[in-house]
């Protein structure tokens, strides 16, 4: 009798556990609600700083926006007749509306927002590496070391602090260490490691 009761108890526990897991599968959404992060605020964007394409293609430009968390968002792209967009692998230009795009950060908490985009080669688009970001008023200068003995680049900042540097080919971030010089003379290294 005791054995029967024990078996019944074990069976009840197993069935209950299975019900619990099944209920979790049924009622817990696949994935989680997206954590709120910074995205651009519509109506706050402007083109801020242009840079030449290394092979003479359409110029690169930077779209800056305020972010929903009080910071800034920066998004690199191509500009043709003041239209901001992208060039697809087949070489066609597509205008880009403002979306939940761009790299957002907060210049009140650190002196720069810094990122690198990699554009692989397509049938009619050469590969590009674009270093870009935005600098606060505390920044006096930006230096980017380049591989292969190329001279150090000093991208200048636009009216809203945006800067970008377009380079040919695909370059690993670690080959483009950045040094930020602040107005008080301090330097901050960004080695990407």
């Amino acid at each position: 009798v005791r054995l029967t009761r024990a078996l019944k108890l074990v069976a009840a526990i197993l069935v209950t556990a299975a019900l619990g897991v099944a209920a979790a599968s049924a009622f817990v959404p696949h994935g989680v609600a997206l954590t709120p992060g910074a995205v651009p605020v519509p109506g706050t964007s402007s083109l801020d700083q242009a840079a030449p394409d290394p092979a003479g293609g359409p110029e690169w430009n930077l779209r800056l926006s305020d972010s929903t968390t009080g910071g800034q968002c920066v998004e690199p792209g191509r500009a043709i007749n003041a239209r901001f967009g992208s060039i697809d692998p087949d070489g066609a230009f597509h205008e880009l509306p403002l979306d939940q795009s761009g790299t957002c950060g907060d210049l009140s908490k650190e002196p720069v927002i810094l990122a690198i985009n990699a554009y692989p080669a397509g049938s009619a688009r050469p590969a590009r590496t674009v270093l870009f970001g935005a600098a606060s008023d505390d920044v006096a200068g930006i230096s980017v070391a380049q591989p292969g003995g190329s001279p150090i680049a000093h991208p200048s900042a636009g009216p809203r602090g945006g800067f970008l540097l377009a380079l040919a080919g695909t370059i690993a971030p670690q080959e483009l260490p950045v040094t930020i010089t602040l107005r008080d003379g301090r330097q901050i290294e960004y080695p990407w490691t």
Binding site: G20, D90, P120
Partner: protein
């Protein structure tokens, strides 16, 4: 005596089964979230984010900032080929790439490869309507 013993067993059995139910639901929920294919949280949210809908070729690879200061990467792939990617550094810059910045790609065959140095290793998140 027998009825008293039975009552005591019932008193113990019911809470045990309720505890089992709660625990198993919790474990199931944790496993389901942790193994989500498109997006999940390991200190920070990261993964594959669809745009307006699942079939408009507009999608994002994201790693929010907040848990590291050195390197976050988010690359987009479609059918195994690199569409484009990004590396972000510093303490506040999010890694955020939008498919439209690189071209037009089949959303359901796309993935994002994400990495946050010192937080999580490189791994892949698939589109929620994965068809690859």
């Amino acid at each position: 005596m027998t009825s008293a013993a039975d009552a005591a067993k019932r008193t113990l059995t019911t809470p045990l089964l309720v505890l089992t139910l709660v625990c198993s639901f919790s474990v199931g929920a944790i496993v389901r979230v942790a193994l989500a294919d498109d997006y999940h949280v390991t200190c920070v949210g990261h993964g594959f984010v669809q745009g307006t809908d699942q079939n408009d070729s507009s999608f994002f690879g994201r790693v929010w900032s907040g848990c590291s200061s050195t390197l976050r990467t988010c690359d987009l792939y479609t059918s195994g080929s690199l569409d484009g990617g990004q590396a972000a550094t510093g303490t506040t810059a999010d890694c955020n790439v939008w498919s439209y910045e690189f071209g037009t790609f089949t959303e359901c065959a796309s993935t994002t490869h994400v990495y946050d140095q010192g937080v999580f290793s490189s791994h892949v998140h698939k589109a929620s309507n994965w068809c690859g």
